[in-house]
């Protein structure tokens, strides 16, 4: 469960703007649907996505139930130095997944 896919270029030139794509497996249950017996299905969503670059936060997204199942988020950052990009998704029911990717800046 909770597999995450991250697309970050392995190498970049200093100062280049790189595009980062992230996808994580999650149902994003809205809390507005009803099951077959008519009972409301409890909300279960990812609330927050934070990206850090060598420990400094570069991007964050606050999600609401209107985001699709398996949230897909695309953003960009300036390749400043070689290092690690860390991505963290947190949400309802103590959901928490952290993934990282390394980038080499020439």
């Amino acid at each position: 469960m909770a597999g995450a896919l991250i697309n970050v270029p392995e190498r970049a030139n200093r100062g280049e703007i790189v595009e980062i794509k992230t996808l994580i497996s999650h149902p994003m249950e809205t809390g507005y649907r009803r099951n077959q017996s008519g009972a409301r299905v409890e909300r279960d969503i990812i609330r927050l996505f934070v990206a850090t670059y060598n420990g400094t936060e570069i991007f964050r997204a606050e999600l609401h139930p209107a985001i699709t199942a398996n949230p897909f988020i695309v953003f960009s950052t300036v390749a400043t130095e070689s290092g690690t990009l860390t991505f963290k998704w947190t949400g309802d029911n103590a959901f928490s997944v952290t993934e990282s990717a390394s980038i080499t800046v020439d």
């Binding site: 570069i58 606050e62 139930p65 209107a66 699709t68 199942a69």
Partner: protein, 157 residues
């Protein structure tokens, strides 16, 4: 004739009452749904007393979507993205989803370019609004109308 209302008048009054009852029934049966006023309120909560001007923001969405469960969305903002002049946040709102807030992105000069993308759910044919907050404290927005054939939220994903 004077004490009896005419047939036409009776029908008019009865119709009005029925319509009133019908409307009441619709309101109680329909699941919670935001209204354009609720969206304005949600936007107001984010921007405070500031003025939101149209322009500088570009919200790209397909004008017609067959499946409301997944609608691609891209927001880009005209900004040099320097330390002195950058986009602080991009918020997305919908008019008729169960709640008006969709997503808030927070970025800064390190983004290099103010362009973000995601996929959202749309409960019905409606208007989507993107509001961008700039480092100088100004707010800019763009609005797109999207036609949805299959609604999200009520169907199984």
């Amino acid at each position: 004739m004077a004490e009896h209302p005419s047939r036409r008048e009776f029908l008019r009054v009865a119709g009005g009452v029925a319509a009133g009852l019908g409307l009441g029934a619709v309101i109680t049966v329909t699941p919670a749904r935001a209204t354009p006023a609720a969206m304005q309120e949600a936007i107001r909560k984010v921007v405070g007393a500031s003025k939101v001007s149209p322009g500088r923001v570009k919200l790209e969405m397909p004008p017609l979507s067959e499946n409301g469960n997944t609608v691609p969305l891209t927001v880009s903002v005209e900004s040099p993205m320097t330390a002195a002049d950058y986009v602080k946040a991009i918020h997305v709102f919908t008019e008729l989803n169960p709640q008006p807030d969709v997503v808030s992105f927070r970025l800064g000069p390190r983004a290099g370019r103010a362009r973000v993308a995601t996929r959202i759910r749309l409960a019905t044919t409606q208007t989507v609004v993107a509001v961008s907050e700039l480092s100088d404290g100004s707010f800019w927005s763009d609005t797109v109308a999207v036609v949805v054939t299959l609604a999200a939220c009520l169907e199984d994903a």
